[in-house]
Every structure is written in structure tokens, then in C-alpha cells.
Point group: C2
Chain length 281, copies 2
């Protein structure tokens, strides 16, 4: 599972790599079948949309669900991430984003590393995102939009938006977005369920609302270089993990066969992980 030099070059220039049909239909079906039981849970980790009783984001699912715990050990993205980050990695954030049919709301233009630095004191942008499509993604169900090359500018100024959606976000102002788009345009990778995107922690991205009757569920993993772990626990542990244990890969069939995995929160989320441990004024 090594990236080619051509892929490494493209990642460097564009800030992302798209792998259509990367997980098989069988693997994707196993992941997808586990989503309803996750979304049905009433727990703090499940953030709901402003409108409708519909899950926007389910955090930290790998801590209690065996299928998603197996997923995070998958060599098909752990090895490329190690290669790009030149280090072992740990899970900084795990989420399943619903982007539900009709109710899925926007994510405004942002960089993930902006938040990781501002809130979590992550030293460098040596962390990246993995998006795995659990539904077909088309132009109508709110695909991820990227501004290619925007990751090369490092951390951009951002403002904390706590009102637009149900989840607060550090968003980038309009003037900056105009400049970035003039330079790099906008792309929105589309493809069948099972496709995967790797993207840089500084790549500026957004997604529109989903007015279509098609859900657009995706798993988002943020993998951080172990040597670059966060220094501040301002956010709850289920949003910004405090366990920096390097991920060891399972075999490539880890979604199809049973492997024993640890499920530390399977009997409930520890109280200390539900809140910030360090309040900042």
C-alpha cells in the first residue's frame, strides 16, 4: 500500500488524492450496515442537525463499535498516511458525517488544522484526513469541495462561527476564499460508495447542504503523526483524542474477517472524556 512518486507529487501540489472504488462493495456494505445503530444512539458524541432529528456527526465511534475499530487499523490508508507523514500515526479524530438526505446542512470553508492548532495545540500540520464514502457521492448530495493547492499557504486567518450550523467551526473569510479560488478553482471528487479521499490538514474545504433524497454518509478519520500529538485538552476527548498510541495495521481483510480489537469505551464514555480538561479564557 505504498503511494507512487507520481501520487506523492500530486498530493504535494494539490493537497489531496482521490481513490475511486477503493473499498469493495462487500467491505462498504459492512461499514454502511453499522451506521443506523450508531446514529440511533442518544449520546453526547452524536451531534444532531439544527433541523430534523438527524445526526450531523457521530464522534469516536471506533472506541465502542468493533467494525469501526477494525477500520482504523486498515493498511489501505494507515500505510499511505505513515508514508506521507514520515511517522507512525494515531487517531486524532474519528467521525461519521451523516449529510442526511434533505436535512444535511452546510460545512463552511475551513481548514481542519486551523482548529487543531488553535484549540488542541497540535504543533505542526503533520496530520491528515481520510474520507471514506459509504454512499455514492454525486453533484446533488453535498459532495466535499476542495480548493486545490490551498494547503500550501499554511494556516489562514479564521473566525469562530458558532451560529450557522449546529457545530462550531473556524471559518475562513470571503476575501481569502475568493483569492484562493482564483488561484486553484474548486473541485468536488465524486464516485461510488467505497471511494476514498486523502487530504492535507491545511487543505481548504467545504460542503453544501444536501437537498437530494440521497444520504451522503462518510467516515472521516484524522490521523496525526505520533511525534506531533496535541498538547492541550481544551476540547472533549471524544472530539480530540488523548490516546497517542501508534496504530498497528491489521491485515488487509480486517473488515471481512474477525480480529480481536480493543473497545475501551464499549461500556460508556469515561466522564473525563466528555469535557475539556483545560479551560482557556
Amino acid at each position: 500500500m505504498k503511494l507512487t512518486s507520481e501520487q506523492l507529487k500530486r498530493f504535494d501540489e494539490q493537497g489531496y488524492l482521490f481513490f475511486p472504488n477503493y473499498f469493495s462493495a462487500e467491505e462498504t456494505a459492512i461499514l454502511k450496515a453499522s451506521v443506523p445503530e450508531v446514529f440511533a444512539q442518544r449520546r453526547e458524541e452524536n451531534v444532531r442537525e439544527k433541523t430534523g432529528d438527524v445526526v450531523r456527526t457521530a464522534f469516536a465511534v471506533h472506541t465502542y463499535h468493533p467494525v469501526f475499530e477494525a477500520l482504523i487499523h486498515h493498511p489501505r490508508f494507515v500505510e499511505p498516511a505513515e508514508q506521507l507523514l514520515k511517522d507512525k500515526t494515531y487517531i486524532h479524530q474519528f467521525k461519521i458525517n451523516g449529510k442526511a438526505a434533505f436535512d444535511g446542512d452546510v460545512w463552511q470553508w475551513h481548514q481542519d488544522y486551523g482548529t487543531w492548532r488553535a484549540d488542541d495545540d497540535m504543533p505542526e500540520a503533520r496530520a491528515m484526513n481520510v474520507a471514506i464514502f459509504l454512499d455514492d457521492v454525486n453533484e446533488f448530495n453535498g459532495p466535499l469541495m476542495f480548493i486545490p493547492g490551498s494547503h500550501t499557504l499554511g494556516v489562514l486567518d479564521a473566525e469562530h462561527d458558532t451560529s450557522t450550523t449546529s457545530y462550531p467551526l473556524w471559518v475562513i473569510n470571503h476575501t481569502t476564499i475568493r483569492k484562493l479560488v482564483d488561484r486553484g478553482g474548486i473541485v468536488a471528487p465524486k464516485g461510488p460508495a467505497g471511494s476514498m479521499i486523502l487530504f492535507h490538514g491545511c487543505l481548504v474545504h467545504a460542503s453544501t447542504s444536501n437537498l437530494s433524497p440521497w444520504d451522503r454518509v462518510s467516515v472521516y478519520l484524522s490521523l496525526c503523526a505520533v511525534s506531533n500529538h496535541i498538547r492541550r485538552f481544551k476540547r472533549p476527548g471524544y472530539i480530540a483524542h488523548r490516546d497517542f498510541t501508534p496504530i498497528e495495521c491489521l491485515p488487509d481483510d480486517c473488515l471481512l474477517r474477525h480480529y480481536d480489537v480493543a473497545l475501551p469505551w464499549k461500556n460508556g464514555t469515561p466522564a473525563g472524556e466528555l469535557q475539556g480538561a483545560l479551560q482557556v479564557a
Copy 2:
């Protein structure tokens, strides 16, 4: 400016016709240049978005602006509309929709004729829409989405949504949309400024929010068969016009050369047109 039998057949089946590059760059530039002075006005006819001091819809612009008054006499859509509706037509509604970069909000799934019947007591669906692009429309700036063939089902049940956006709308429920999309899919015609869409008053349509840095300004004209004029003045006259005078075409160069046109509201909107004349419980 006659539609071919092939076009008439397609309109019957799909509920819309798309004409890319229908107005020249020069004509489109003239229309586009007049928009800022319209949007800058503080008048009741200009409905602003919930977020940002940005115009969502400017109604009745043809009553006071010579360029847009000339536009409504254009044979390139008046003649096709007369052909499709088998009657002379009048302007039932005129609007410029901003769908502004960053702030342009969604329009949920709806049929225009549903509102025209429920609120305005328009007897039959013998009215149609003309959308003229004043900006390039692409997948990122909130294009109009249609469910092809949905017009053949007549008026569908709808609920009055007064909360989602800044403009109330009769919206169609999710179950119905699922069925319609299973049957007909979704299309979103895209093309350069100057393109035009003709669509049936019962065609179900929507548009997502515009997160891109590109405005997507369009003119929307609703032309009603004169014999099918509205019977109830519940809504203000600037939203549902009460002047049923048949449109007479100007020559094809009416955007490029000066023709004298009447501007009945050029000195201000008559008080009686700013409110509903018939309150319904």
C-alpha cells in the same frame, strides 16, 4: 421564434427546455450591469437573506427599471410562451434572484403553480417560468435542480414553510420527492451567462445554497395565459401582479436599442400594491 415539434414534445415529457447561450454576451452584459442599482435599493420588493445584508429576491423590477421592462417584451421567450400556452400572456411575477456568493441560501423543493393556485387562485397551470442566467452557472454556485417529468402529476401536496429561509414557500414533503426522483432523477442545467430555461409551472424544482465565491444572479419571469389570470389578490401586487394586459413583443434587438416602454411604478410603488387586498383567515 417558434419551438420545433421536437422541442414541444420534449417540454411535454420533461417539463423544461434549456437554451444555452441564448442571449448574446452584449445583451447579458446590459442586464447584468443594471443589477447593482436594483439590489442597492431599500424597498419592500427587495427581500434580503437571513444572513448577510444581501438580496435574495428583487420583485417587480420591470415596473420601474427600463432595461428590465424592455426585457419582458422580448420575442425570444414571449413567442415560445404564447405557443406553449396557446394564448397571449401577461407577467404574473417578475424577480431577480441573487443567489449571492457565500450567502445565497437554499430554495426547497416546490412547484410554483402550487403557490399560484393556493394563494392567488390561478385557475389552471397555464403559466410558465423563464429563467435567464446573468452569471455563469456551474455545479458550485447553487444551480436550479429539476425533477424531470414531475410536472405531469399536477399539483402535489405541500406545506407552508415560513422558517427555513427568509421567504415563505409551499414545499413538498420528503416522501413525495423520493418517489418523484426514483422516477425521473434530478437534472441541473448549467451553462454560461445568457443561457435560458423555460419550465412548466408544475415542474418540481429546488436549489442549494451557494458557498462558492461566484454570484449566480438570474432573472425569473412567470408568464401566465391572459385567459387564466389570477382571481384573488391575497399577496401584494408586487409579488403577484394584478395587471393582466397582454405583453406585446418588441423587436428582437430590444435590449440593444432604445424603445419607449411604460414604467408605471417609476416614482414609487403604489400603496395598494404593497399589501394583500383580500385577507384570508
